[in-house]
Symmetry: C2
Subunit: 224 residues, 2 copies
């Protein structure tokens, strides 16, 4: 879970630029640059760092000090070196599911960075397959389940982004369980509620186990 | 094939910095920064751009103009927007092999950028599988052939980098065919000759077809 590191990085970026712009305006400028650059750079720390640098150009009208850019490079490098902190109950839940279900990790971001995080996390051994995706649109999930040779009704996504993990999976006929996290990036927020037969919300990851048992249509036989 | 675009980008970088350093010194500084950053950023245009920016800091002692950084961002963005130019006979060779052999593309670089290039190239349809790798060490190829459920002796890599495409594949017991290209990045060069039973060199990609026919140990049955 990189979210807190990115939010912390944004705060440091605003701090860096405080001589030029109030905190909130610097944040908005960075956010705008990041979202504009998504089609070009995709997700991940490298694109985020390039966006910070581009925002420095815009905020200082190309008149800022190179030290600002040095600061942005350091912020990016720091995120890449952060330890991986597992959320509570993630490992025990994966352990319980392992063997009964075919577990796949689907994540987006920089290839090398995501591989490194997975290695650091020690979770790779629970997964049948790791998919590092450039995007999480419905076409991307469709490609994933084709590749896994899995029917949509046998696929269940568990995730903390309604926009990226839940909606596209419901759109292709899959099942989705939302585990809210207290920090969500602006760009991952949606402004409506989801009601759908195949949508379910839990408070913590370990509720997945009793939930799966309670759902007759999600037996070990279908979800594997 | 991105090589010429990267070399052109390096020239533009040296041109940008000519007030500070002679061409060759600027190139060496950039190269050193790129190689140092490979374990952190991996391969691809985004890491290359971040390295250009870091090299600007070093070359100008943090005293340069932000316009230099703007120039580096523009060089990076330009590589990402370049058209994909196919080398001669690549498509017709893939077409001829398709159906008889299981074709896999193995490439390294930024995930989104590589996906975009593949889409632009129109070549995706010939491949059974696309593997975008963070590295091309022997462990990475071992993981690839495990994933493909392919024995090393049934695997043949065709590539233009002796260091990344050929040596690691020979090390894991696979077959390798080298198709030299007139531009090779410094970091991909090796300083010795390869002699190995499973190593072969051709001048152009289309020689792959008669080569495969001539090799009894590489029949359609083994290489699929």
């Amino acid at each position: 879970m990189n979210e807190p590191y990115f939010r912390e990085a944004e705060e440091r970026f605003c701090e860096l630029l405080k001589a030029y712009l109030p905190y909130e305006d610097a944040y908005q400028e960075l956010y705008k640059t990041e979202v504009n650059n998504l089609p070009l750079y995709g997700y991940g720390v490298k694109g985020f760092t390039l966006s910070m640098i581009e925002a420095i150009m815009n905020i200082t009208n190309n008149k800022g000090d190179l030290k600002l850019v040095e600061g942005a490079l350091a912020i990016g490098r720091e995120i890449l070196g952060k330890p991986v902190e597992l959320l509570e109950d993630v490992e025990s839940t994966l352990k319980s599911l392992n063997g009964d279900y075919r577990l796949v990790m689907a994540t987006k971001g920089d290839l090398l960075d995501q591989e490194r995080k997975l290695l650091k996390s020690g979770l790779a051994k629970y997964f049948h397959h790791i998919e590092i995706m450039s995007n999480k649109n419905k076409e991307d999930f469709q490609k994933l389940i084709n590749h896994l040779d899995c029917a949509p009704e046998e696929f269940m996504m568990v995730g903390n982004s309604l926009k990226s993990d839940i909606l596209p999976v419901l759109q292709i006929g899959g099942n989705a369980v939302y585990v809210p996290y207290h920090i969500t990036w602006e760009h991952e927020k949606i402004d409506h509620h989801i009601t759908h037969d195949h949508f379910h919300q839990v408070e913590t990851i370990k509720e997945i186990l009793p939930f799966l048992k309670s759902q007759s249509y999600l037996t070990k036989e279908t979800l594997k």
